[in-house]
Amino acid sequence: MKSSLGRKLINAPYLLWAALFILIPLIIVAYYAFTDTQGNFSFEYIVKIGEYKEVLIRSLVYAAVATAITLVMAYPVAYYMSRSKVSTQKMMMLLVMLPMWMNLLIRTYSWTTILEKTGLINSFLDIFGIGPLKIIGTSGAVILGMVYNYVPYMILPIYTVMTKIDNSLLEAAEDLGSNGFSKLKRVILPLSLPGVISGITMVFVPSISTFYISQKLGGPQTQMIGDIIQKRFDALSYNMGASLSFVMMIVILISLAIMNRFSDDDGGIIV
């Protein structure tokens, strides 16, 4: 708080950068969303969003389910990691990060070779005369792909917060009569809540705008809003694509705001 002018000057390049790369694209999106093909102001395409109601709802549901599954999977892993020896922690961290070093497209593509009709799983089941099972093309496969891709983003923030929980607090809880479950409920959960909230945010936001995964692992009836947006732009239907993106942004902003409310008491989101 020394000199507000000095602060502003220091922030200036950042503000410029933000304006250039965040604000201007947003304005362009909004512009296309609220104009017709001739460039006149119009609600034509915003209104058309109603046609995609089903896809929008599906995206929300898939994202919610994928987020819930990653949370349930990641929480115990993060806890276990945070209570391990430092060397084990580093090792596990590496394992969690490893898939992220590979391109998303390649990772998803490899799942298709596992799940497809002639893929790894079905070839294996075939030995016992079972199948082939229809895995690819189901909503289960899409959610699996999402969980697989996003679970590190859930583990990392929860793990980070949990490493900050001093062991003596857990011992104090035990000393005062807490065993496993009550220790979890009264100490571990409340203290790791900020991590859980940023984990949910970091998984839910990309989940809801997922594309490609849903095309490769799913089928026509598992299309997500991200796929539609991509297709609209590919078809040079900028106005439709932009208005869908605009609605997506609103949905994401609302969910961020809800998340923020939860974390306010505990001092904000930790990313």
């Binding site: 001093d166 003596s168 607090l169 011992e171 104090a172 809880a173 035990e174 000393d175 005062l176 009569g177 807490s178 065993n179 009550s182 009264r186 100490v187 409340p190 203290l191 505990d266």
Partner: protein, 377 residues
């Protein structure tokens, strides 16, 4: 006084970490309502012993018996013991009231009852009005009292305290010493207290357990420990001592530096080599010719109540605390009353402590540069 029942018993406790023996064949009995203090240098295993009693660490060998029941393997929440941790370990997500209420809530005590007990407990540690405060906004002394309240509200029969006053300044430390002692006496709880401050240990405890390198050196009342140290380590660690080589010529007669001294100890072998302890305040300064021994004063420091005199007698530097103030270079005599000569059996610590030849270097900050200079050559 009638002997009270034994509430905690440690039998042949041993534990090692990473292949290093940390506690070795530790045996101890603690009685109901006793104030027991573990005293010893850093790293000697005090916290480890406490954690074994609390159930946070399981010993490799030996038995932990609490209230007559073998507690080996029992987790902390199954023990009638509460702990005040070295750094308090208050719950940062709970306010003062909820921190204190934690144990009661876990045990599903009725909420009206909780309200009543927590309020009363906060009042007794002078924290009324702090109920809604966040713990991180409290001073060290206040946090410490929350920690005490959080443990005591559960009516434990045994309270473990790991250097609970370590982080406090001297004034607050003294106040809290009195407060803790009062609480202990009023409630009649067994206190097992850890400190490396010998003054704290002597002034608060019924029983002091002196530890070093994972072994108990001596168990006794503060007076016993001070007046009748068992070996050179205890004599050196508790207070100031001159520790000398002697030979027990017969009962009540010990020889040091070729001079025979009357003493009160009996039961040693004839001509047995022994360690002799003489406390600095027990030595009388006399005329050289009247003294049992005599030597040259090599330094004198004013300490308020008394002077601290280092005198060189036959190449052994004695420390004397006296109200007399001879000058450096003076030849003085010393005389020691028989009851102030304490005889100890030889131990592994013989010869390691009790000579003040390096004393002036240790104490004077100016000496520091000289010491490092010597180390390098």
């Amino acid at each position: 006084m009638k002997e009270k029942k034994i509430v905690v018993e440690l039998k042949n406790i041993g534990i090692s970490f990473d292949g290093e023996q940390i506690l070795d064949d530790l045996n101890l009995e603690i009685r109901d309502g006793e104030f027991v203090t573990f005293l010893g240098p850093s790293g000697c295993g005090k916290t480890t012993t406490l954690r074994i009693i609390g159930g946070f660490t399981q010993p490799d060998t030996g038995e932990v018996i609490i209230d007559g029941k073998n507690m080996n393997g029992a987790p902390p929440y199954k023990r009638q013991v509460n702990t005040i941790f070295q750094r308090y370990a208050l719950f940062p997500h709970l306010n003062v009231f909820e921190n204190v209420a934690f144990g009661l809530r876990v045990n599903k005590v009725d909420s009206k009852e909780i309200e009543k007990r927590v309020t009363a407990m906060l009042e007794s540690v002078n924290l009324s009005g702090f109920e809604k405060r966040q713990v991180h906004s409290l001073s060290g002394g206040q946090q410490q009292r929350v920690a005490i309240a959080r443990a005591l509200v559960n009516n434990p029969t045994i309270l473990l305290l790991d250097e609970p006053l370590g982080a406090l300044d001297l004034k607050l430390r003294k106040d809290m010493q009195n407060e803790l002692k009062n609480i202990q006496q009023q409630l009649g709880i067994t206190f097992i207290f850890v400190t490396h401050d010998q003054e704290e240990a002597l002034s608060m405890s019924d029983t002091v357990v002196v530890m070093n390198e994972g072994r108990i050196q001596q168990i006794g009342t503060p007076e016993d420990i001070y007046n009748e140290p068992k070996n050179a380590f205890v004599a050196d660690f508790i207070g100031e001592s001159n520790i000398l080589d002697g030979i027990m010529r017969e009962d009540r007669l010990v020889e040091m530096f070729g001079h025979k001294f009357d003493c009160v100890d009996i039961g040693f072998g004839k001509n047995e080599p022994v360690d002799v302890v003489v406390r600095p305040e027990d030595i009388d300064v006399v005329e050289p010719e009247k003294g049992q021994l005599s030597g040259t004063v090599s330094s004198i420091t004013f300490k308020g109540v008394h002077y601290e005199i280092i005198v060189d007698i036959n190449d052994f530097k004695w420390m004397i605390q006296s109200t007399d103030s001879p000058a450096v270079g003076d030849v003085i005599g010393i005389s020691i009353p028989p009851q102030d000569i304490h005889i100890m059996k030889k131990s592994e610590y013989s010869g390691m402590f009790g000579d003040y030849s390096t004393f002036s270097d240790e104490m004077e900050l100016i000496g520091d540069t000289e010491i490092t200079g010597e180390d390098e050559t």
